[in-house]
Subunit: 328 residues, 2 copies
């Protein structure tokens, strides 16, 4: 089959929701175009503004970093080493290799070195699910590291499938308070909070996988071993089933939701939420002790990080000049 | 396994969303209790009020009729013969047999005798989907027949799966105007419109199938042959998948939606929609020609019903004294 855009080269991917099928070159053009539209529409960042890219080592975040770099943005990666057996070491190695090969600056933040244990230990000590503990600590890390390094914006690799699944979950449970946080661009609502943007929200998981393959990006294929039962995977499966029957369902569901929300672009008025400073760490929180401290304090009390650092020493992976270990 | 309620008889059905498993007697008690709660909470009808029950011949509508009769309500059935090859004749025969065996009054309305053709012909002539044409004509029939026979309320067999699937479809397409019509009890908004109620909205499809089997109700098992690709079946499948992973999802999704809507009980103020009278048939409509007339007029013009009646003669099925053929 020939590409429906250039009508000459062979098709690499069908895009049923756009009623098209594209060759490698036209698909590449399409991906860059979708990311460009996302950035411009939500004024995610300006051309010269340095962007901190949260990278896990998966196809989405490495694909995003690759795209922003190709599009000429000044990017730095930040990787959180979660301390999950096997998986996290692979993720760190893959991320470091990506950064080194392209000479892109990368900050690695090792949870076990900082707190005396990884996500699994934190989840156990704080009696949370691993996904909840991980999300809380990662968001905290991206914000504090970003701010301390002088970034005003952090970009994450959330794609259309992620956002549609999250929206479905929020609606199934009528968590309407969360809906306003579902914008691809969350403005800073406090001097200590950096903006959060999701430039891949117009692209599906399948498209990002194809992009990574076509760009020969080495990425960690395995899903996180802690997430095999995560609700988000169930919502994605349900939406994929509906998408197969009726292409475009997922995109309409999320993009029409956004169209009906007031444009929550950068610079828009922040929500009227009173933010205090956490009594433990001083970071913004709606309560007195922030979510991050509620997750990490039980572990810190059980296993002081200093002891662990002493035993563990520096990470095994070689550190390129461009890679900074945040915790050493 | 022993019933979790009476702790003596063997379990016939597990109800994971209620964390229970019941024997035949306790399940029967549970079903009647759920229907009673639905009727009372939405004040669907009073004890002495005659209720017209829309019956297709499937497990839900025959189960509903059986339940209301057992609970002591004064019921009359109304069956629309859609003229779909094989399926509709089976449905009519099954419904008549149910009514005759219990000496319950039944009105049969034959679309082909009234309009010169069944749902398939109507859909073709009006260029609608069969499901859309069928729904429009059935709702019209239930209302006009109900009103002409002096009923103030029509009950349909929509269950929790039907309502949750409809809600999901409306949210996936952001048809927010339809959300207010998703109440299990729609008050009359015009002198010519009867109330519509759904006493089974707290019970799942699986529970209604079990009820029909336990009550030895002979019902048409096949889904309508026109609906095999219907979106509603896709939404149901997606919700069932989520329900299996997380029991209670479906119930919370729909019941919490209702809890957040203002109680649209009978007697509540009707919505502010201006209703005109259809220029063709005089029934209430928001436009000038009602949906029913838009569906049936193209067919009526092509095949006058009188001609067809003459050729067809009375239906083959025997007519019990309690059964009225609406169109003869």
């Amino acid at each position: 089959m020939r590409c429906k855009r250039c009508r000459s080269k062979p098709v690499v991917l069908k895009l049923p929701r756009h009623h098209t099928a594209l060759c490698a070159d036209c698909f590449d053009h399409y991906v860059i175009d979708q990311v460009g539209r996302a950035i411009r529409h939500y004024r995610m960042f300006r051309r010269e503004e340095p962007v901190l890219v949260a990278v896990s080592g998966g196809k989405d975040s490495l694909g995003l970093w690759d795209l922003l770099d190709r599009m000429g943005y000044r990017t730095t990666g930040v990787h959180v080493q979660q301390g999950i057996d096997g998986y996290s070491r692979d993720s760190e190695t893959t991320t470091r290799a990506f950064a080194e090969a392209r000479r892109l600056p990368l900050v690695v933040h090792d949870l076990a070195r900082e707190y005396g244990g990884g996500v699994t230990a934190m989840a156990e000590a704080s009696r949370r699910s691993a996904c909840s503990a991980c999300g809380t600590v990662k968001r905290y890390a991206f914000n504090t590291i970003g701010r301390e390094l002088g970034f005003h914006v952090v970009a994450t690799g959330h794609n259309l499938d992620d956002e549609a699944a999250r929206l479905l979950g929020n609606l199934l449970h009528w968590q309407v308070d969360y809906l306003s946080k579902q914008s691809p661009a969350l403005p800073s609502s406090h001097a200590k909070l950096v903006r959060k943007v999701k430039p891949l929200f117009r692209l599906t998981e399948r498209e990002m996988a194809a992009y990574a393959v076509l760009r020969k990006i080495e990425y960690v294929i395995d899903e996180c071993p802690m997430s095999h039962d995560a609700n988000s995977l169930q919502y994605k499966a349900a939406l994929n089933q509906l998408e197969q029957h009726s292409p475009g369902t997922k995109q309409f569901f999320y993009l029409e939701f956004l169209r009906r929300q007031p444009l929550a672009g950068v610079g828009a008025a922040a929500e009227e939420v009173v933010l205090n400073e956490c009594v433990r760490c001083g970071e913004p929180t709606t309560g007195t002790l922030c979510g991050h401290c509620r997750v990490v304090e039980p572990l810190r009390q059980a296993r002081p990080a200093e002891t662990v650092r002493q035993h563990e020493g520096p990470p095994a992976a070689s550190v390129a000049p461009m890679v900074v270990d945040w915790d050493s």
